[in-house]
């Protein structure tokens, strides 16, 4: 009951963050026990007082065979509350470790889909036990959200680079419709290596417990795209434009799912038409 209440609390907080414009992307809505288990697992490896002194280094990939997942703690592990000061300088944070595991797991998605199996395989390549996959949600949610977040970050970097180039005069400023087309295309192209399993990812993103996070990721991405497109609306257009772009992105994504043309040219043509429609609509609206 406590876990359910805590999870519900996390969900509510996450949903509340949605109301704020640029909320921090923190999609780790793991119930408290997982955090405790994860920290306990990590602490155990770096704890130099444990029975296996050979696992004294905090770099996980040095002694892959020595790390044995002993009995999982029931409830709060004593070391969770106070190991302060004993960790070495390069102690990797839990979040960083999780990122590394999930990134490694992406290679196994084409084979295993967005699932705990892929995460387990990813953990193996890092020299960890497959039990490390227990740190994450069993339905592959964390993997999908991690991937989407990573893609959005890459997109942001790309947009920043382009903006810098324009500022330095190395590149021409693109007209809005071309900018939107190119940006959405660049973002959707990141899905190509995983396109077979993307429908599964979409269905995972639509699971009720993932909706706050996936919505958050979607809205931040759309906001970023429009920001770099030079949108300076401060009236209701702010909402209209974001809604329209979200529609364009989502529909194009769906078209891409069942596009079998070479290099997805049908999808890009669809995208071009939708962006043109949107520009037409806004021009007409201005004239009225």
């Amino acid at each position: 009951k406590m876990a359910a209440a805590a999870a519900a609390g996390s969900l509510w907080r996450a949903g509340w963050r949605l109301w704020r414009g640029r909320a921090v992307v923190s999609w780790q809505l793991c119930p408290p026990q997982r955090a405790v288990q994860a920290s306990a697992v990590l602490r155990r490896v770096s704890d130099e007082q444990k029975k296996e002194p050979s696992v004294s280094s905090s770099q996980f990939d040095l002694h892959p065979n020595d790390y044995q997942p002993e009995q999982e703690p029931q409830g709060p592990h004593p070391s969770y509350t106070g190991q302060g000061g004993q960790e070495s300088e390069d102690y990797e944070s839990e979040e960083q470790l999780q990122h590394r595991i999930l990134t490694a797991a992406l290679d196994f998605v084409p084979e295993h889909g967005w699932s705990a199996e892929a995460i387990a395989e990813g953990a193996k390549t890092l020299g960890l036990s497959v039990a490390a996959a227990g740190m994450f949600h069993s339905d592959g949610s964390d993997l999908v959200l991690h991937f989407v977040s990573q893609c959005n970050t890459k997109l942001c970097e790309l947009l920043k680079q382009e903006q810098k180039q324009v500022q330095l005069g190395e590149a021409e400023k693109k007209p809005t419709d071309q900018f939107l087309r190119d940006t959405v295309e660049a973002r959707l192209r990141m899905l190509i290596p995983y396109i077979e399993k993307w429908p599964q990812a979409l269905s995972i993103l639509l699971l009720p417990h993932n909706i706050p996070s996936s919505l958050n990721l979607l809205t931040s991405m759309i906001d970023d795209i429009l920001h770099y497109a030079g949108d300076q609306a401060t009236d209701f257009n702010w909402y209209t434009r974001r809604a329209v772009l979200t529609g364009i992105y989502n529909t194009t994504e769906l078209v891409m799912m069942q596009d079998s043309s070479p290099d997805f040219e049908d999808t890009w043509r669809f995208l071009e038409n939708r962006v043109a429609d949107a520009m037409n609509m806004s021009n007409t609206a201005e004239q009225v």
């Binding site: 109301w19 704020r20 414009g21 640029r22 906001d223 920001h227 300076q232 401060t234 009236d235 209701f236 702010w238 909402y239």
Partner: protein, 172 residues
């Protein structure tokens, strides 16, 4: 960040609403002898709104989704109070400006508590605007706002509305 977000969003909504209130008042009383006075106050509000538009883009803040509503509500309030006569319009001005000044003062307190150095520019802007609004408040009093029909009821009602508007615009 969330603090600044809210502040800019609600202030933007406030200046937008104030603009519409004066527009409503001008629509009714534009040709009367208080027309120029109202026009002058309106122009200052326009400048305020312009500033908040810029801040909104700079801080990448989302505008309140209630803007279309404030558009209509503001105009109706302005026109409605003006229909009660010149004193009615002035009473509305006094009520609104008093609310806004208190609101700005609260924000100034919040920002100073948080980090006066970091928010120096924003603080400067808000302080300046608060002084402008207080000036409007005094102008309203000078023009016999207190002699308006049902002044105290009007004032209370309008200030209640302002409180609600502030609460909602901060969040939605």
């Amino acid at each position: 960040k969330p603090v600044v977000d809210r502040i800019i969003r609600v202030d933007h909504a406030g200046e937008y609403g104030a603009n519409r209130i004066y527009a409503g008042q001008m629509a009714v009383l534009g040709r009367s002898n208080v027309g120029p006075v109202i026009q002058q106050m309106w122009d200052q509000e326009k400048a305020h709104l312009k500033k908040f538009n810029e801040l909104m883009v700079a801080y990448r803040v989302r505008p309140t989704v209630l803007l279309p509503f404030w558009n209509v509500a503001g105009f109706v309030l302005g026109a409605g109070s003006a229909l009660l006569g010149k004193k009615g319009a002035m009473a509305c001005t006094v009520a609104v400006e008093e609310s806004i000044s208190n609101h700005y003062n609260n924000q100034i307190r919040t920002l100073v508590e948080e980090d006066p150095e970091k928010y120096k520019e924003l603080l400067q802007t808000i302080k300046q605007f608060r002084d402008d609004e207080l000036e409007h408040h005094d102008i309203g009093l000078e023009h016999d706002a207190e002699a308006a029909p049902v002044y105290s009821v009007l004032k209370t009602a309008i200030q209640l509305g302002c409180k609600a508007a502030i609460f909602l615009s901060e969040r939605i």
